[in-house]
Symmetry: C2
Amino acid sequence: MIHNPLNQILAPQSIAIAGASNNMSKMGTMQFLNIIHSGFKGLIYPIHPKETEIFGHKAYKNVQDIPSTPDLGILIVPTKLVCELLESFGQKGIQHALIITAGFKETGMDGKKLETHILSIARQYGMRFLGPNCLGVINMHLPFNATVAPAPVNKGSLSLASQSGTYVAQSLLYLYKRGIALNKAISVGNEADIDLVDCLEYYLDDDTTRAIGLYIETIRRPQEFLDIAREITQKKPIIAQYVGGTDAGARSCSSHTGAMAGPNHVYQGLFNQAGVIRAHSIEEVYACGHALATQPPLKGKRIAILTNSGGPGTSMANTLDLYGLQVPPLSTTIQNRIKSYLPGHASAKNPVDLTFHTDMTLITKTLPDILLGSGDIDGLLIHGIMDTGWAELFYPVYQRFAGDSLDNLKKMFQSDMNGLIQLAKKYHKPVIVNSFFEREDHAKSTLMDNAIPCTTSPELAAMMMAVLYANYCIQNRKNSKIPEITTPKAAHEIIDANDTLNEYQAKQLLRAYNIPTCNEQLVESIDEAILAAKDMGYPLVVKGCHSDIHHKTEHQLVHLNIISEDQLVHACKRIHETQTLAQFLICEQIQGQRELMIGMKRFANFPPCITLGFGGIFTEVVNDITLRLAPLSYNDAFEMINSLKSYTMLKAFRNFADVDCWALASILTHLGQLACHFQCISEIDLNPVIIQGDKPVVVDALFLINNEREGSHLSY
Amino acid sequence: MIHNPLNQILAPQSIAIAGASNNMSKMGTMQFLNIIHSGFKGLIYPIHPKETEIFGHKAYKNVQDIPSTPDLGILIVPTKLVCELLESFGQKGIQHALIITAGFKETGMDGKKLETHILSIARQYGMRFLGPNCLGVINMHLPFNATVAPAPVNKGSLSLASQSGTYVAQSLLYLYKRGIALNKAISVGNEADIDLVDCLEYYLDDDTTRAIGLYIETIRRPQEFLDIAREITQKKPIIAQYVGGTDAGARSCSSHTGAMAGPNHVYQGLFNQAGVIRAHSIEEVYACGHALATQPPLKGKRIAILTNSGGPGTSMANTLDLYGLQVPPLSTTIQNRIKSYLPGHASAKNPVDLTFHTDMTLITKTLPDILLGSGDIDGLLIHGIMDTGWAELFYPVYQRFAGDSLDNLKKMFQSDMNGLIQLAKKYHKPVIVNSFFEREDHAKSTLMDNAIPCTTSPELAAMMMAVLYANYCIQNRKNSKIPEITTPKAAHEIIDANDTLNEYQAKQLLRAYNIPTCNEQLVESIDEAILAAKDMGYPLVVKGCHSDIHHKTEHQLVHLNIISEDQLVHACKRIHETQTLAQFLICEQIQGQRELMIGMKRFANFPPCITLGFGGIFTEVVNDITLRLAPLSYNDAFEMINSLKSYTMLKAFRNFADVDCWALASILTHLGQLACHFQCISEIDLNPVIIQGDKPVVVDALFLINNEREGSHLSY
């Protein structure tokens, strides 16, 4: 924690700020005033070429004139002034900077050069900085709000890091209205220096941060992201939205922060491996992040629904079911206890439906006590708590016919929320409350301010429970070590001796990593083919083998079901008709109807990505591919297998055996090692891998080698 | 329209109401006062056993004492009083009633009896009623708010019908805050008499209703729902949430309104067939319904995004892409025009990103004019419009340092929204605006009140565009007639002659409906089998055939790839070993790797449901079944085929031919006719239907017959 630059950026004791003036309509001025108004207690030194005083603060012409060395320098100046000022910060000995100014990488080549330049200035002075093109940081607990957006101080446990400044600075009122309290928020901008990984490292050690929300357009250091996120998610949850996975999203990312996005399934694989929960909207980042930050663990799938209206209760039940949670009928004992409090037509099963009811005691105290204390359930969703919101709504009618004051009416309706707040703490189970009211309702705002998540959407409330359960599963997942495999000597020999690999060599390489392939012999002539066939026995497969050949089936170079010498000779002749240079690969015929595809692809900045999916003619249909970043632990491999949508296909069904998942996991981890050992291998395609009995066997293998060998042989 | 009872229920000229008193805390009283306060201009007669006057209105001991016959009678009384009062309404000649009171079908058997009883009372007097167990109706245009919930009158074009009263009565403030204006809303309750279908019929003819939102736990008259919804969705959109499709949802429905829910895929099929857009939350019903009600058609997929912040712009682009819409780069001409207004680092591609900007003219007028007028795009999403909301937020800082009044600051920020409002009208293209502010912001509230949908979620805004496009496709889909097929004589003969059907008879029946099956002969002995084989030629399939046999493969009664007389005899012997009574079915062997499953199932109250899905060993994996209600038009059948997730499998790929979809559609429509003609057939399973070349051929057929023949032979 000591060396993380964010320590000082989020909690400086003194600040130099360039860009503020006495013109209140300027962004720099607003930001300056906002820092003061937000309650920052440290020293603040405005820098201005002309002004001598800015809103009561002595202004300095030059950063050098400041009597001490500030912890943090903030730049909200025109782009062209950034270099000069940053240099002067460096000369002054300022170690940390916040560069709000835009106009860098996101604008094209010139901007990119400028960004490289400011990075080199910072490096020169050992300075670390956030930005450029960001909106600043917020630390609700100091308090220190260095964004342009004023907001009620609302201290919470959810911390954000975002590649969009808007999601940090413009949503503060929105969050306050929804009772979502932040701890810290970081707008990372172009990430020229400090990036998401630094933010994660900082939040890992930040004790008051209980959950982390991320908005992501790109991850610039995927391996480091994976390492730190995997460590964090064992202790505190991360929820992330990633928006660069579509064509339109990727294009937009690029013009926003100059970010290079990657395909969705690569990021999904990274998130899964790291234990990062995926959000599909910024609302989910906020709302689910807030639930994760405030609620105790949801230790099981059993949710009680307590409602005074059937519709929302049913919507919650339906949504919970869709997310794989349960709404179990309560035990008879509990039902009977509940029934004693309900009107005749109400249901005590689960959902417990009080039907329309104006006394809030049942729904905020009596029944939650029974439900949370019961042992029947792991979490509680409530719909319909409200008090003064209703009074306010009804007041125009009331005033007209009863003539009393709004305050009196509110007092009449106001309910005591203390029961529910205490029960949630006492039973240490998650509680989430829905109604169509918001902060205007005393009940709702009281719950909000006491760490009970409140929603205006039954479906969102249910989904938040699902996220809590997902987090519980992540925190309790097994984590095995990554097996250490030294590069086999045989593998070195094969790679060193060949610029390209044909199928036979590819499979030799696989076998060097203990990856099972079909038995096969490579022969030069038809006579040798006949001998090999005698040796191996029929049925056989005969293939043309040549390193230039990639799509054998389309080129009629694969002949299956060869059961006689005649057929063998015929097949060899057909192969030579198509490809005179081909050798013959005489292969054991692997029997099995289930086919898998296993592969390795490289994406810019990413470690090698291992993929697993269903193969055969249904590949296009099933479109079911999981991905993880190598090197893989056995648990990574097992999770990869389990997360196949068509995972059930690997289980015993009809006449099929239960697939040996250890054997499959072993192929995946070993292939990952292979990819890490040889960076010259740019792509691997094992297709099909046929399940014979219960064992996966590689039947065809394609390796693409990048012959610019600089990177080869290096362990990742 | 003349006879729809909702005409009078939603727009009565005089009302009798039982349940109101001078006790203001009673629900009946609140409802009574709310009717008056909402601006109802008609006559209103409270009925009360003791009071002589209720809040200034003369009260009547008895409905008979009322000087005229009210259009509508409202009951908000204890359950036990409902029968008596309803009877008195009938005697008075009241033709329409609204029964708010609960305690009927939703409470169990006794309640169900009571509900049947009130229905019989109503029938006796020719009375139509809404409820029981409902929360009333709202007609914003009269105005007439007969619910317990006071709300600002906010006239719009979206009308609701809901099986949850909460979604009609408790969400009014929520809707107002979000700018969602209702036209009419109906809480249907238990639907003892008037149901969703009546609501749809009413809304079809209601000119001011431009879109319909539904909350559904069950559809009690699926055929009628399909017929009316299909007619409506050619003219105005319907968006519906269905929550009964999961186990937990279905259980909750049953205890809420006594509704019997059905499996999700059945309702999904019904919605697809009817052109009903499916919502997954009540928020989507409201928000997307509002967009549908206010926006002109989105006539293409090309959306422009105009933003002053990269994050929300990117999220919108990503979401649009996920929903199949496009964010096309704008033409150079348009980009250049836009660039002339943008700061250097801003992007004009699409998203058009102004970056942080406080002058709202560009984003509300100049650029929307260029974009909407361009011909490059079909709809416009804007993020970041705000004015006084920001001022209010900034005011504490402003007051402290500038000391001016909030009003002055607001005036300084206040922007003119008229430009955007006029442009949206002028270009007749959908415009949706997002920002994190709500009604507190003058810009947002002005847009809201001028029929421009406003959101606080970039992803929701994008999704609303997707819904607009879905509606455009629905309104422009082809509608073909349902082919009239008379019951073939041969079919009658087969059904009349048999209590059960074996495979051979089943296929005979299919052929009578011109559904292609494999060629086959049914024989009694091995000798006959040999003769048949000679006649048909090898390869053949031999099956044991007996009406009791349902799972032939598991019982080793199917022998594929019979290529010689020896194999034939062996197969027949094996069949007789397992099932001595079986006949032999000698079938042409159909070649093809693609297998479909076609079926017919019946669900309570539903017309026969025709299903189509992928078959073979991957059935479990692909889990891809579409469903439509018979009888089917050819368009229904084509849409069914097209909506298969694995539809691409039917197209030409690898060595596979393009499937003859006319032939496939023909099987589906004809099977639908068959199911409608013979209600005694309770289930049909054609599995597999093998694609041979490009033609589907039924290879196996299983029919289950319900021998309680009352319903048979009746055309549906």
